[in-house]
């Protein structure tokens, strides 16, 4: 074959291979979405959202406590993870060119790579063992620690993108530096930071491992945040490895609910990014 034709053929083949690679990667995604939908939709009824789990062997029941539990745990994580994360990010953006800044940035990067089960271990030792209680607080703390690095770096990156001219204008008007940062820079970066937070929340909502030894699980409502709390991911795990058919069905239904929650957050976050980019 003529040399040029051979090169062209190779080019085509490689292109084809790359397309194939993309398709192959998306097959599992399609499969997961398909099965979760098909097997989960049957279990979605009013009972699922309003009832408590029934004892083994009895039909019916639902995961109302797990759904609320997930919302509670994510809420706690946001409460404890977002303010420190944002403030730390502000520090890095404003004063981050110091030795401390480099150490903090490094620590945040390290922290984002720590396996979630290790965080669960840490919170168990620190919180559960000392309070002698599995609790929603412990679970929330574990999730907050997981959120922290993402929120911090996100805030830092976005603050840095805000044009200096905005800050200079504020300073020129005599506004003190701290006010300028908070009211002007942070506010401008806020939508982007919110997007980063949404992505962090989506990730944390699906976490199971750290909850295994912190929030534990509960077959009833938890009347306070100091009690073990049911959650969707832990329930999916528990029900999936059980031998009962109807628990399997409930696991698929729970996976559907969780997946919808997570995907909605994820997709809205990305659409907002596009919207902001277009608006600029």
């Amino acid at each position: 074959m003529e040399k040029y034709a051979r090169r062209k053929l190779l080019d085509r083949v490689v292109r084809g291979a790359c397309v194939l690679a993309t398709v192959v990667a998306l097959v599992p995604l399609g499969s997961v979405l398909y099965y979760v939908f098909v097997r989960g939709i049957g279990g979605i009824d009013l009972a699922f959202f309003t009832e408590l789990p029934k004892p083994v062997g009895e039909e019916g029941g639902g995961m109302a406590n797990a759904i609320v539990g997930t919302i509670k745990l994510v809420g706690l994580a946001c409460l404890m993870g977002i303010p420190p994360g944002v403030l730390a990010g502000v520090y890095l953006a404003e004063f981050g060119n110091s030795r401390l800044g480099r150490i903090v940035r490094f620590s945040a990067d390290v922290m984002s790579g720590v396996p979630s089960i290790t965080v669960g271990l840490f919170v168990y030792a620190l919180v559960v063992m000392t309070t002698k209680q599995f609790s929603a607080w412990a679970g929330g703390i574990a999730l907050a620690i997981l959120m922290l690095p993402t929120v911090t770096r996100s805030t830092e990156e976005l603050l840095k993108l805000v044009p200096e001219s905005l800050r200079e204008a504020a300073l020129g008007l005599g506004v003190p530096k701290w006010r300028a940062t908070l009211r002007v820079m942070l506010r401008t970066a806020a939508p982007g930071i919110a997007v980063g937070i949404m992505l962090a929340v989506a990730r944390v909502a699906g976490e199971t491992a750290p909850l295994l030894f912190t929030a534990f699980n509960n077959r009833f409502w938890s009347s306070s945040l100091n009690e073990p709390t049911a959650s969707l991911p832990v329930n999916i795990y528990t029900y999936a490895v059980s031998p009962y058919e109807d628990w399997h069905d409930q696991a698929w239904a729970a996976a559907l609910v969780l997946l919808v929650m997570v995907l909605v957050l994820n997709i809205s976050a990305r659409l907002l990014v596009r919207h902001r980019v277009k608006a600029r």
Binding site: P115, G174, I236
Partner: protein
């Protein structure tokens, strides 16, 4: 003194005497602001240090009793209180390497396709879909793994592999569905978005002149990629791979649900295995003796140290080529 120069500005409040203590900050507000944000920033450092210290403390008894033998010990026997982590290290390493073997070529293909070859609309849509792979929670992959992947492997793939390549020790043994192969595949699916998105960024950072130069010399698209883009971004791509490896090592739920939970070293991909993260997840709430707990904590410490080191190496490699996408977690 700073107060004099600011005296004519009504919005800036200043305290003349204390200002000397406040240094560069002109007023109380700035002073507090800087200190408060620094406090929270410091909290991150303290947290990481605390994690490392706490885990070392918890594993003390095990480190004292087993020393280096822990890392090379093949026996994990809670009854006789002999603990060796080698089966878990083996399981973690093999499943992660298998995952990389599958994921790296695919991720590279995706990255090249999306950054060099794809038309605009495909770039957005497909890129978005690949990112969605990362959005699915680990436990949902595990659920899918138990009820969809494992039966498929058991009924279709493993018998086929056994029949054709069964002479290799890699493909011997009963077809259970669950095992190293299932674990490797699930991990591969989960790390593909990480490797491909970082690789995309790395490839994008390659300067246009380099590309244009190759094209101007008459290279086909693939030749341009091969000669101009890839060599330039080599270290970044390696960094992306290492980031993916780090993610694979720390993965817990999905792999626990499909790997078979057997602390044994086997040459076959069909055999069940056990990873460091899985043994902690399975046995932590029930380790009744102190030494058992310490042994599990030591595994946690090992995992922590390895993932931290990998993370550092990866980021150094990627930073060299171009900036990382925003947000710490990829």
């Amino acid at each position: 003194m700073a107060s004099d120069s600011n005296a004519h500005l009504p919005l800036v409040r200043s305290r003349s005497r204390v200002l000397t203590h406040l240094g560069a900050d002109g007023n109380w507000g700035d002073f507090l602001f800087r200190r408060t944000t620094a406090l929270f920033a410091l909290a991150i450092v303290v947290l990481i240090a605390a994690m490392a210290i706490e885990m070392t403390r918890e594993s003390e008894e095990s480190i004292a009793r087993f020393g280096l033998d822990f890392v090379f010990g093949r026996v994990w026997d809670p009854v006789r209180q002999v603990f060796g982590a080698l089966p878990f290290i083996f399981g973690t390493v093999v499943s992660s390497l298998l995952a990389l073997t599958i994921a790296v070529p695919i991720s590279l293909g995706i990255a090249i396709y999306l950054s060099e070859l794809a038309p605009g609309w495909a770039r957005t849509v497909l890129g978005f879909l690949v990112e969605l792979l990362a959005a699915v929670p680990s436990v949902v992959y595990g659920l899918w793994g138990i009820f969809v992947l494992a039966p498929w492997l058991r009924e279709t793939v493993q018998p086929a592999l056994g029949a054709t390549l069964g002479f290799l020790p890699l493909f011997q043994g009963p077809a259970l569905g669950f095992g190293m192969l299932a674990g490797g595949i699930v991990l591969a699916i989960m790390i593909t978005p990480t490797i491909s998105s970082v690789s995309r960024e790395v490839l994008r950072a390659v300067p246009m002149p380099l590309r244009e130069g190759a094209l101007a010399l008459g290279a086909t698209r693939w030749e341009m990629v091969r000669t101009a883009v890839l060599p330039y971004s080599k270290s970044g791509l390696v960094g992306a791979t290492i980031l993916g490896l780090g993610r694979a090592l720390g993965e817990t739920m999905a792999i626990t649900m499909v790997i078979g939970n057997r602390a044994e070293i086997s040459a076959s991909l069909f055999a069940p295995g056990y990873t460091m993260a899985s043994v902690i997840a399975n046995e932590f709430t029930e380790a009744t003796e102190e030494i058992y707990l310490a042994a599990l904590a030591q595994i946690g410490l090992l995992l922590f140290v390895i993932t931290v080191l990998l993370n550092i190496v990866a980021r150094l490699l990627v930073w060299r080529v171009g900036r990382l996408p925003q947000g710490g977690r990829l």
